[in-house]
């Protein structure tokens, strides 16, 4: 098939006019304090840092910087709430509070969506249709478990752990907060949560929701800051459980620092998932899966399908279809309802992605980017694919966390499987074939926590999520997610 002579034209002609989501209905304070003991309090050392809109590079707000003393206060507040009302409350009552958070989130979904897109750069379509509804769904789901823990673990006496220190990333700020807070509360723990320094706003708005829901003071505390604040929380003596989502490097240092402390932990780390496409797959839908796998949320997804393994006989065809599809992706203003790919989350992340583009080219891989225009201001990266890469290329081995796909081909099922598993990670994978037997064979062989068949990036609160190898320890979500916040040994 000659793809050069019969090129489809997607530019010019009928274009979509700007369709920006209104921001009139939201309010962002000039400055945010720390949420400790049910109140917003000024940080002990009085430090603040800015959070910016990555699409405009403009400052959105100033946020308190929590230091060791603030972490102390937050953990003490959480401990007091745990010893006080929370652990003594009837489980059904606890559930009611969580249901209330879920309902308020649903009511304020539009506001949360806009703030999530402003602060993090993700397209409004995604924050509106995925992040916020899914965050509410997690609260709803775990609210239901609160008074049914004995049924989840028959014959055992599940008990809360105490204070959970939770550190979440910047790629799905509110959703990750929900993943962490909902099961912790359902199991009767209290929480100190630290959002990422580039995306603190929806967590702080969640603090307002928690106030509105009338949770007893100290059950949920939200402190903002960067890595140092996080390590102070992890290292705090009075924290019983550490839950972290983020990079493998930080995960490794967390494991080191809590070794021997008796703290329970779950770590949800990096990934380098392969989408594996067989010749008999529904190729057009597989291409959608590839696009969804790597360009969803600018590729800032730990379970992103950042590697494509495509069977030799259809490789050219799939790549041609993929290139056409990439031309129709709209990169730009995250608040525009037609935007498919928003802004890269931060200047630092953009620099990291660009360094990998350079590495890829220097290693001799062939880079292709879509031709769409990008705004002048802000942090942007066009959807990018690399062909002509081998297992030994760094862009195949290392997590880039951007809209960058490395494409390889394979001949036999065994070769596909070997390549898919030949990575330090094991978070997710995608299998595309019309044959059920092949799906089973592959899902048994791929060592990854989540494997999707003929789809990708599907999430549901009932389904556990977590990694093999350097992708993490423990599971979040579903019934499995409860175990991470319970003591089942008594």
């Amino acid at each position: 098939m000659d793809t050069q002579v019969t090129k489809l034209a997607f530019d010019g002609g009928w274009e979509y006019a700007p369709a920006p989501e209104s921001t009139d209905h939201i309010h962002i304070d000039k400055q945010y304090e720390l949420f400790i003991g049910g109140k917003f309090v000024v940080p002990v050392e009085g430090g603040y840092f800015n959070t910016v809109n990555p699409a405009t590079e403009k400052k959105l707000s100033r946020v308190a910087l929590a230091t060791d003393a603030d972490v102390d206060k937050a953990v003490a507040a959480a401990r007091k709430a745990f010893n006080g009302p929370w652990s003594k409350m009837k489980a059904a009552e606890r559930g009611k509070y969580i249901f209330r958070i879920a309902r308020i989130l649903q009511e304020r979904a539009r506001e949360f969506s806009v703030i999530e897109s402003l602060d993090g750069g993700k397209p409004i379509r995604e924050s509106r249709d995925i992040d916020i509804p899914l965050a509410a769904a997690h609260f709803f789901y775990y609210a239901g478990w609160a008074d049914k823990l004995e049924y989840a673990y028959p014959g055992r006496q599940p008990a809360a752990l105490g204070v959970a220190g939770q550190i979440i990333p910047w790629n799905f700020p509110l959703l990750m907060a929900a993943w962490k807070i909902a099961p912790a509360l359902a199991c009767g723990n209290t929480v100190v949560l630290k959002p990422a320094e580039t995306t603190p706003l929806t967590a702080l708005k969640l603090a307002e929701v928690i106030q509105d829901a009338g949770l007893p003071p100290g059950v949920v505390n939200i402190i903002t800051g960067a890595g140092e604040t996080g390590s102070a929380l992890v290292d705090h003596d009075d924290v019983d459980k550490v839950a972290f989502t983020g990079s493998t490097g930080v995960g490794r240092s967390i494991m080191k620092s809590i070794a021997g402390s008796g703290k329970k932990y779950t770590l949800e780390l990096g990934g380098k998932a392969a989408n594996i496409i067989f010749a008999d797959a529904a190729l057009d839908q597989a291409v959608e899966g590839i696009v969804n796998g790597i360009f969803f949320n600018q590729g800032h997804v730990c379970c992103a399908g950042s590697r494509l393994l495509v069977q030799e006989s259809v490789a050219d065809e799939v790549i041609a279809r993929l290139k056409d599809r990439m031309e129709t992706l709209i990169v730009g203003d995250p608040l525009d309802k037609n935007t498919d790919i928003g802004a890269i989350n931060s200047k630092a992340q953009l620099a990291r992605i660009k360094s990998y583009l350079k590495i890829g080219e220097e290693e001799g891989a062939e880079m292709h980017q879509s031709s769409c225009p990008v705004p002048d201001k802000g942090y942007w990266c066009r959807p990018t694919i690399f062909t002509g890469v081998a297992q030994s290329n760094r862009i195949v081995q290392e997590e880039i966390f951007g809209p960058v796909l490395a494409i390889q081909s394979f001949r036999t099922l065994e070769e596909g499987l070997t390549k898919a598993n030949n990575t330090q990670y094991g978070l997710s994978g995608g299998i595309w074939t019309d044959k059920g037997a092949k799906i089973f064979k592959m899902t048994q062989g791929v060592r990854a926590g989540v494997i999707w068949a003929n789809t990708f990036n599907k999430f549901d609160p009932t389904s556990p999520f977590g990694g093999y190898k350097e992708s993490g320890v423990g599971r979040e979500g579903g019934l499995h997610g409860l175990g991470a916040y319970l003591n089942l040994e008594s």
Partner: protein, 308 residues
């Protein structure tokens, strides 16, 4: 358009090589087209484009010469209060009404399309289908909308269906041939894709979803699969084939979703009446209503738009 010479294929293609279709994935993608937000200038341009792509249709057993003349009058005078409106692309009628339509449309740049080949069932011997096609063309039809033999297709008699389309194409002469797959009877999207490939290789100038007599008629998933088949055929042969979803598209909003789907699947080269049509009877008035609203800011009652 590329400068490649169209490759004419007359052999029945190997349908087992047609890529499979995953229905869940198709539905997901078509839902995504519907989240595109089309506003202001973009919407105005879309509404005009939709009008220009309409095949204004009357295909009833009770049709009369008078009814067809009324329809042609409407085709020429969509809504004279709004200046600068395009004509619809064509008026679509039964073969016996082609002459009437032709005369009523006069010099206006509006084609006459005629259904033929024992529409809507297609249950007639081949020579009758060919005669019917010839008669419609002789009466002045610019376009022929034929139906495929669905029974034969579903039985796997692909050669029979292929030969029939090729024979009707020959009978068409210079008239454009639209091949109706009647997707509502083909049961799977895989069948829709195979039938599309077959029809294009047999010589279809357009492929069309439905007769409008069977439910479901045109749907976005079915149209999407057909558009993808057109894209693949274009890549393979360099020949552009048109697309006509017909039946069930009665609102501007839905028609705009179709344009989005067209744009993001085949690109801008297909975005004209030469390559895309809506087979519809009530869509035009809804588009006119929307245009009036865009122009004045308020909706007018349906009674302000002529119903023919």
């Amino acid at each position: 358009m590329s400068a490649v010479k169209a490759v004419k294929t007359t052999a029945l293609p190997d349908l087992s090589r047609v890529t499979p279709v995953d229905e869940v994935g198709v539905h997901e993608r078509t839902a995504r087209f519907q989240t595109r937000s089309i506003k202001t200038d973009s919407k105005n341009a879309a509404l005009k484009m939709i009008l220009s792509m309409i095949d204004l249709t009357t295909l009833e057993g009770q049709d009369t010469r008078g009814k067809v003349r009324q329809l042609c009058q409407k085709a020429i005078h969509l809504h004279d209060q709004l200046p600068g409106l395009p004509y619809v692309a064509a008026v679509c009628v039964y073969p016996t009404m082609v002459g009437v339509a032709k005369k009523a449309l006069g010099k206006a740049d509006i084609n006459v399309a005629s259904v033929a080949t024992a529409f809507p069932s297609g249950m007639a011997p081949r020579h009758i289908k060919i005669d019917e096609t010839r008669i419609a063309v002789a009466e002045g039809a610019d376009e022929i909308d034929m139906v495929i033999s669905r029974g034969a297709f579903l039985q796997g008699e692909y050669g029979f269906v292929f030969d029939e389309i090729a024979a009707v194409k020959e009978a068409c002469g210079d008239a454009h041939l639209k091949v109706i797959l009647e997707t509502g009877e083909l049961s799977t999207l895989d069948n829709v894709r195979r039938a599309s490939v077959l029809a294009m290789h047999a010589g279809a100038d357009f492929i069309k979803t439905s007769t409008g007599k069977i439910q479901p008629a045109a749907t976005m998933p079915v149209t999407y699969v057909m558009l993808q088949a057109i894209r693949d055929y274009y890549r393979e042969t360099g020949r552009m084939v048109g697309m006509k979803p017909a039946g069930g598209i009665s609102t501007s909003k839905l028609a705009i979703h179709y344009l989005v789907m067209l744009r993001e699947t085949l690109g801008n080269a297909w975005m004209s009446k030469e390559w895309f049509r809506f087979g519809a009877s009530s869509l035009a008035n809804d588009v006119l209503m929307q245009m009036q609203k865009q122009a004045t800011g308020v909706y007018q009652s349906a009674d302000y738009f002529s119903k023919d």
